[in-house]
């Protein structure tokens, strides 16, 4: 490991190498619960982006004033307040979507990604780094959610974003938009990501040993 990562590095890291869904296995509740269609998955990712960005910037701003033993309390307070704000905003401007997501918006409070990023990054780094870290991690989370939602929606209903893409002859696999489908899709996608990472690692190892 080299020295402290810079802001752009933090941004890129969140997207693939430290992807919160596939590599860190954090925030699994929404990953499984709201991925039965693309629209709700993207709304969820947007809500997480808002909360993570605001919380990271806020925590980074007050990082020098924080008493170590009270930091978790402060983090929780910041996160819960921003989640309440995003919940109200959704209810006001995207009413049907907020009804669909239901309790999973308030459950962002206990999403380990956000409190984890506050603890690992924002409480130590400058505002710029914390902000780019938040955006990178949320984009990574969004990629994770939408990849699962894409497969579930297209196999389960033959549609993407509510428009039909598969021919009518496709028998919709309803199980994919029901709870078991979430577990299957995520399990198999996680397996394939692991497979690709393993293959890349072994090829790097082989190349090193050849030298």
């Amino acid at each position: 490991m080299t020295a402290e990562p810079t802001a752009p590095e933090r941004f890129i890291r969140g997207i693939l190498p430290e992807n919160p869904t596939y590599r860190q296995l954090l925030g699994l509740c929404p990953t499984l619960a709201v991925t039965n269609n693309m629209k709700s998955a993207l709304t969820m990712a947007g809500a997480v982006l808002f909360v993570l960005f605001c919380a990271n910037v806020m925590v980074s701003l007050i990082r020098n004033l924080l008493k170590p033993h009270l930091r978790i309390v402060a983090f929780t307070l910041v996160i819960a307040a921003f989640v309440t704000i995003v919940d109200r905003l959704l209810a006001a401007y995207m009413y049907t979507m907020s009804k669909n997501l239901g309790p999973y918006i308030p459950l962002i409070i206990v999403n380990c990604i956000i409190i984890g990023r506050c603890e690992i990054c924002a409480s130590k780094e400058s505002v710029l780094k914390a902000a780019s870290d938040a955006i990178g991690q949320s984009i990574g989370f969004g990629i994770g959610l939408s990849s699962i939602a894409f497969f579930r929606e297209i196999i389960g209903t033959g549609m993407v974003f509510g428009t039909r893409v598969l021919p009518q002859i496709w028998p919709d696999w309803v199980i994919m938009i029901l709870p078991p489908g979430a577990f299957f899709t995520f399990g198999l996608l996680l397996g394939s990501v692991n497979y690709m990472v393993n293959r890349k690692n072994t090829s790097i190892k082989n190349r090193d040993s050849m030298k």
């Binding site: 206990v110 709870p179 399990g187």
Partner: protein, 233 residues
């Protein structure tokens, strides 16, 4: 009679039909992380049930007494500043998320201290899991479900009493325990299986959980059948 039927159906529904883990996907983190061994899974399930029951009843009390419009405590406090007509209208439900998360965190702290002091043997069996539970979504989910049945309900007869809130939170925890113990049992057997390298760990656990969720789907409709059988319509 119908009240007892209601509680019975809430319990069945929370524990089996709409299982917290396998239907609502809450509490997935411990479900995957702490399900390697049946004994540990039991400890975790017991701790979650314990905290969930306490947090559920606390959040029911806070919602009914403080947060909803016309709640007695708020009305009493606001009565000093406003006239009664206005005091009844104060709606604090916006604050519910913040209040719940702190109620959960502090009840976990108190439970931990209490158990360590008075039941050292119990503390040994599940005490280590207690701090982890604060960020367990299942607990907050139980509180939110209770809130949705207390605040903003149009028909006053449908508002949940304490006994229904207790039934939901206790049997929600029981459902969590059932799911995590079954999972741990399967994973103990899975150690003797030849799982492809890339699927080892979380991936195969998720796929097994999918099969479990499919099995639990078989319970769908049991509650409507029971309700018709017990109340005659």
């Amino acid at each position: 009679m119908t009240y007892i039927t209601d509680i019975f159906l809430i319990a069945i529904s929370a524990a089996l039909i709409n299982n917290f883990v396998l239907y609502y996907f809450v509490g997935i983190c411990p479900f995957i992380g702490v399900s390697r061994n049946v004994d540990i899974a039991f400890g975790m399930g017991f701790a979650v049930t314990f905290v969930m029951t306490i947090a559920g009843s606390i959040s029911w009390a806070i919602t009914t007494l403080v947060l909803v419009p016309g709640a007695p405590f708020t009305r009493f406090i606001a009565g000093f500043f406003l006239d009664p007509g206005q005091a009844v209208q104060i709606d604090l439900t916006t604050l519910s998320y913040i209040v719940y998360i702190f109620a959960i965190a502090s009840s976990v702290q108190f439970v931990e201290m209490y158990i360590r002091k008075f039941f050292p043997s119990l503390y040994k069996s599940f005490g280590v899991f207690l701090p982890l539970i604060t960020t367990n979504c299942a607990i907050l989910f139980a509180c939110l479900t209770i809130m949705s049945h207390v605040a903003g309900v149009e028909n006053p007869a449908d508002v949940w009493g304490l006994s229904k809130a207790l039934a939901l939170s206790f049997f929600g925890g029981v459902g969590f325990t059932i799911a995590i113990v079954i999972m741990a049992g399967i994973r103990e057997e899975l150690d003797f299986c030849d799982v492809p390298e890339c699927l080892q760990g979380a991936a195969i656990t998720l796929i097994v959980a999918g099969i479990l969720a499919m099995a639990f789907m078989g319970f769908t409709g049991v509650d409507s059948g029971l309700r018709v059988a017990l109340t005659g319509g």
